[in-house]
Structures are given as structure tokens and as C-alpha cells.
Symmetry: C2
Subunit: 451 residues, 2 copies
Amino acid sequence: MPPLRRLDVVLDSVKRLQRIGATANLLNLLQKQHPADLAEVLGDLRPLERRSAFDTLLGHNSRLAMEALSELDREVGAALLVDRPAEALARLFPELPSDDAAALIDQLPEDLAASVLELMRESGEVQHLLGYDDRTAGRIMNPEVFALSEDLTAGEAIQALQGSRDVEMVFYLYVVDERRHLVGVVSLRRLLLVSPETPLKRIMTTELIRARVDTDQEDVAREVADYNLLAIPVVDGENKLAGIITVDDVIDVIKDEATEDILRLAGVSADESVATSPFEAWRKRLPWLAVNLATAALAALVVQRFEATIDRVVALAAFMTIVASMGGNAATQTLTVIVRGIALGELTWGNTWRALRKETLVGLANGMVFGIAGAGIAWWVVGNPYFGAILALAMVINLIVAAFAATLIPISLRALKVDPALASAVFITTLTDVFGFFAFLGLATFFIRYL
Amino acid sequence: MPPLRRLDVVLDSVKRLQRIGATANLLNLLQKQHPADLAEVLGDLRPLERRSAFDTLLGHNSRLAMEALSELDREVGAALLVDRPAEALARLFPELPSDDAAALIDQLPEDLAASVLELMRESGEVQHLLGYDDRTAGRIMNPEVFALSEDLTAGEAIQALQGSRDVEMVFYLYVVDERRHLVGVVSLRRLLLVSPETPLKRIMTTELIRARVDTDQEDVAREVADYNLLAIPVVDGENKLAGIITVDDVIDVIKDEATEDILRLAGVSADESVATSPFEAWRKRLPWLAVNLATAALAALVVQRFEATIDRVVALAAFMTIVASMGGNAATQTLTVIVRGIALGELTWGNTWRALRKETLVGLANGMVFGIAGAGIAWWVVGNPYFGAILALAMVINLIVAAFAATLIPISLRALKVDPALASAVFITTLTDVFGFFAFLGLATFFIRYL
């Protein structure tokens, strides 16, 4: 990742201009940036510098300031707004497309969000979006969608388009009937290829992919990605056109969902990022580690039950960690392949059985290879072939258990409509710790006379 | 994830029609599907069924068959081609856009790929793409880009567009000078809003974001996502227009890179998926587990050095696993936040120091909280407050080491231009195992007279 040189220069200039108090120059520099670049520069400033730069811009170009803010990490963005009066916020949000405004309002403390919405009641649209469930098409769509009546001709359609303003990225033109039911779509390019008198009805495609307001955002993203769409229309329960989701919003969903899976698998809250404050990060990671402490204590209790055995053959204490560690890593591999397969839609109900078979076979094969290798190491170090044999057997058992657990737990969570990524490494690796210790020390206790 | 009901029906019908040998009906059904749907159905069939369905389609509609194949998991797709003669393949690949063809050819065994390319030499384009480095803009771009001369008027541009065929998703029209240098861009919508006599030069935007053929595909994806673009032009070292990367390709890059990070963090090869065969999966996971066996053996040797101490206080064997497990999980949390932060471009050189400070603080705070909690459990179970105190101290040390290692290792890998996700849990958790055992057993040995 080569550093973006231009933005580094901008960042340094912003800091310098702030230091010498050259507000006019600072403003001039900020106003020249693209909102996405501004967000990156703001994100790299310290909190106080960020606040000051944002306020400077907000005073002179509130639209650009708000656009940059909506590109910032949400937590960081909300922190820049949270201590302002509701009246000021209610004036600022209408600068943004209503889907972006809704996402930001959602980040504010409940009281403040309620007051802001009360004040914005006239505008209606933002409130409307917040009425849909989180993570649905309704929540992320832009309700300002450009639609044409099915009675128009191609020429009239082009005229209507020329008269439109402020419509997000128009390239598909949705066609509706007199009661706003979605009946078809015409691409901008197609409009250019026919004579102006052609009725839209004749050139529109009627078989079109649409999402419903209550469709899960992940399913919407998958449809857009699978069919290579630039946008997808969103309809209500009666097939009335309610909004549009464009591909840039879909990219955000895909990135967010991937981030969420990666973080959850590691036992981190889905909304943590590099920008999260140390205190917040500590508070958010605490519960996961608390669960791990409880399960690790369980594993320790299992070991404690075998203290008499360890007391007789103290080398068991060293080698039990190998069995547990291999189980944990093999389980993490399986878990990750399964969770990612579910997220990408590659693991369907149809091939679940095949996946379980595959993972069990891989677990068995790896158990045998590394069981024998571990047995060799143990024999060599401890000087007792039986010690090695017990380690090999425990490894095979633990790796098969790991494969089973790491496949079935996320699949079961999905069946229960819980995020499979919640079956994070925290749970699975402790499970393999417990089983690994139990198998190894249990076998050792049973065959203690050979050790 | 609600199952896609329509496709389940298609899948069942395909299986049924295959079973009763109703080839004509089967072909009819397959030909009605969108390539993306076909790929999903093919992916869900067993290998033999898949081969048979694909061959049926290939015989009658090779274009659709190849399009579906290019949407399949790459490994699965290549398996459907690999045993065909080079001559047959050389006739099939031209059915695809050259970027898709290049990606598929890249998956074939080297000998076969070379023969196919030799036979396709006339077409030139695919070979041209394969000349660029893997994971660069040049490799994933489509060289068939629609460009207009800067001397045209808006009306002439629309005429040129009407005459064009088979051009991938046109919405930005790139403007070039007489030597094909990229000089500007006009949106399709803008063309409609001006009078036909307006020269392109007057309405084109000259400040446009472009990628170079050697730009890393991840950087291209970030630019397209950050600036909400639908496509990005790719130029060579002399600013000559070489191709176009559309947003659908960018979505694939974003998904692939996220998958790669998720899998690598877990110690799985970047190209494994649910569809990988058991044997392949075993072969690919083997090296990661071998590394883990080596590092786990190292941790076991550390424990072995303290056998005399464990022999005297056997409860240490049970409680050392808690210190190691907490360290491993805390390290995984930190590692994942850092690696994802790098991938999303949120962790820049500018805020590296802040990230290290945050992670150390979180490690210290968690070490104290869980050190005290663990000490309480140990005191209660073992009945010795000094035992608890040693556990607490070891936990604090191990969690700070975990924070440092899990922050600095991926950052250092990035500085060395190695994928930070390669600092996978395999390495980091064994590191915390070693440190955890060493800190806990070392302290116990030092304070053995209190235990």
C-alpha cells in the first residue's frame, strides 16, 4: 500500500495552517478537496484538530462538510455532531441524501436523535427510512428515485431527464404505471438508440430484478454483485417503487459485512475500527474475553481433574498443549472456510453434507499426519513410544472433533437465523482445548502403566 | 439467508431431467437462466452431474456456457476445462470478454495454458492482459474500451455510440487525443443535456481519476469505492488509454481481497473455498498446521524446562493454560483490528503510533481486569493467594506482549511489502502461548517458596 502522497501533503498543510491560524487559507484548501479525500484527512487528524477543521468548513460550506462527515468512520462522524443543539443538526442533515442522513442520525444518542427527527418532521423522508428495520433494503435505499410513466415516448423521457435535478446516478430509468407500480426498466443507452416517438412500453424490459423494502441488505448486495447491476429498484409489498439502491451503496454493504465477519470471527464487536478510542475498544472486547476466561477456566478444571496423572508423568503437562494448539488451529481453519462460504452464498443447504464430509476427511488426514509427527517428537523427547502413541491418538480424536464442531456450529447458527460468524474462534478454540486435554490426559490415565 | 426458492426448483429440475435423460428439455431449461444463476446451479451439482450439464449446454450455446463458467468458483471452473484439447479451448475463450478469459486461462496447468495462448495468438488481447503482473489494473481491465476523439461534437458522439457493439457497460465516455492519450471524460447523461453541436472539448471534465496498468488492484478498488465511481480508465506509462475497469470487477476484487484476508488470518490459503476438494484442502492446510506443530512444540519445550516446578506444584499445569488462552484471544482481537484497518486504508503511517498506544492501553486494562479475575479463581480453587498473584502478574505481562506483537508484526510486514494478513493467528497465538507459559512458570519458579 503506497502512501497516497497528495493527501499526505494536504494533511501536513492542514496541520500547519491550523497551527499558524491561517483560517482563510485553510478554508480554501479544504474546499478544494473531494469529500472522500476530506474524510481521509479529517480521519488522520487528532480529535481536537479534526473538530476545529470540521467547524471551520461547516461554517462556510456546510454541504461539503456534511458530505465529508458521511464518508468518515461512523463513530468518528457522530462524535463531531453529538454536542450540537438539535436545531443546528436539523438544519444540517437535509444537506445529505436521506439514506446517508438516516445512517448518521442512527448513530446519535437516542434522545438527541428523537429531538432532531421531531424538528425534521416536515421533511418526512429521513423519518420514513428510519421506519424500516436495520440492515434492510428500505433502510439503505435512496427514496429519491427517478421514475417515468409508462405512457411516455423515448423523446419525452429524455426531456423529463433533462429537467431532473439532484437525482443520484441515473443510468437505469424505471418505468411505473399510474399508481406507481414498477412495471419495467429502460437503460439510458437504449433511449439513445431508438427514435424519439417510440413508446417506452415497447422498449422497456419487464423482467427486472428488484428488492423489497424488507429484503436483507446482504441479499441485495449479492443480487447486485451476481447480476453485475449498477442499481436495483426497491418496491414495497404492493410492488410500488419506493427507492433505489445504487452500486456504491452496495460496495459499502459488502465491505461492512466482510469487516463484520472478520471482526466477529476474532471475537471483536462488528463496529470496532482502528479509530475506536482505547476506552471504547476495551469496553467492547471485555465481554468476549470474559467468555474466554470462563471457558478457559473450564479447560483448566479438566486438566485439574487429571492432576494425579500429571503428578506421575509430568511431561504430560508440556505435551497436552500441543494437542490443544493443533486442535484450535485446525478448528479455526475449518470455521473460517465455512463462515466465509456461508457469507459468499457458496455454502447452500444442498452442499452442507458434502462440506461436513470434506472437513471430517481433512481432519482425519491431518490428525494422522500430525499425530504421527507429534508422536515422533514425543518419543524422541520423552523416550517412551507409548507416550507418542497416546499423543497420536488424542490428536486424531481432537482434529475430528474440531472439524465436526467448526462445521456444525456455524451451520446450526445459520439455521437458527443467528450470524454464523458469532461462532467465533473464542468458543471453538476453547472447545478444542477442553477436548484435547480430556482426550490426551484421559488416554494417559487409562494407559498410565505404560508411561 | 433465505434459500433462493426459484433456483432450488431449477436445481431439482436439472437433476430430474438428467436422470430421465431428457436432454432437449434440460437444454431448454438451462438456456433460460442468467449466467450467474447457471453458475449457482452448476456449483450445487455433483462433479459428474455438473460436467454433464455443462457439456450439454456447451454443445448448443457455448457463449452462455462459458459465461456461466466464468462466474463459477475458479477452481471448479478450471476443472471443467482442464481435460479438453487446447484447440477446443482456443475456440471457446474468445466467447468471453478478454479479462474473464485471461483469469480462466491463468487457472489452467502451465503447459495447457501455453498451448492455448499459442493457438490464440492471432487474437492478441488475452495474451496482452496476461503480460501484466497478477493483481494489477492491467490484468483485470477490459481493453475493449469505448473512446471518443476530442474533435467530435456531442451529436457525433451519440452517433458513434449508437454504432458501437458489444462494449461493456458504457456510461462514462472517455475522450482521447489523436495519439490516444486520455484527455477527458463525458458522462452519458451530460451528452443528453447539451445541444448536438457542442464540441466534446467544451463539456468534458479534464480532471479525472485514472489508474495505471501497474496500479495494484486493491488500490484501484479503493479509489472506485471512495469516489463512488462506476468505472475507472486505465492508462499506460504514457497516459495512453489502455482499458477500463468497471464497478462489477471492482466488487469482485473487494470480495476476493476480503476473503483472502479472512482466510489468511485463520491460516488457510487464499484460494480455498467450500468447493475445494478434500484432498486439495488437506494439501493446502498442511503447511500451516506444520508451522503450528513446530511452534507448539517450541511452547511445549518451554513448559518442559519448568517440569521441576510443575512437579512441585502440579496445579500450575492447569492454570498455565488460562494465561496462554487469554493471551491468544487478546492477540487475535488486536491482530484482526489492525489487519482490517490496513486493508480498509484506515490505518495509515500517520496514525500507527496512536494504534500502538491504544492496543497497549487495552492490553494493560484487560490484563488487570482478567488478571484479578483469574487470580480470584485460582485463589479459590488452589487456596493460595500468592498463586493468584502470580497468575495476575503473568496475565498482565502476556496481554501487553500480545498487544505489542499483534500490532507491530502486521505493521512491519506491511512495511516490508508483505501481506499483513500472513501474520496469521497461527504465529501470533503460539507466540502468546510461549510467552504466557514462560511468564507464568518463570514467576512460579522464582516465587516457588510461597506456593
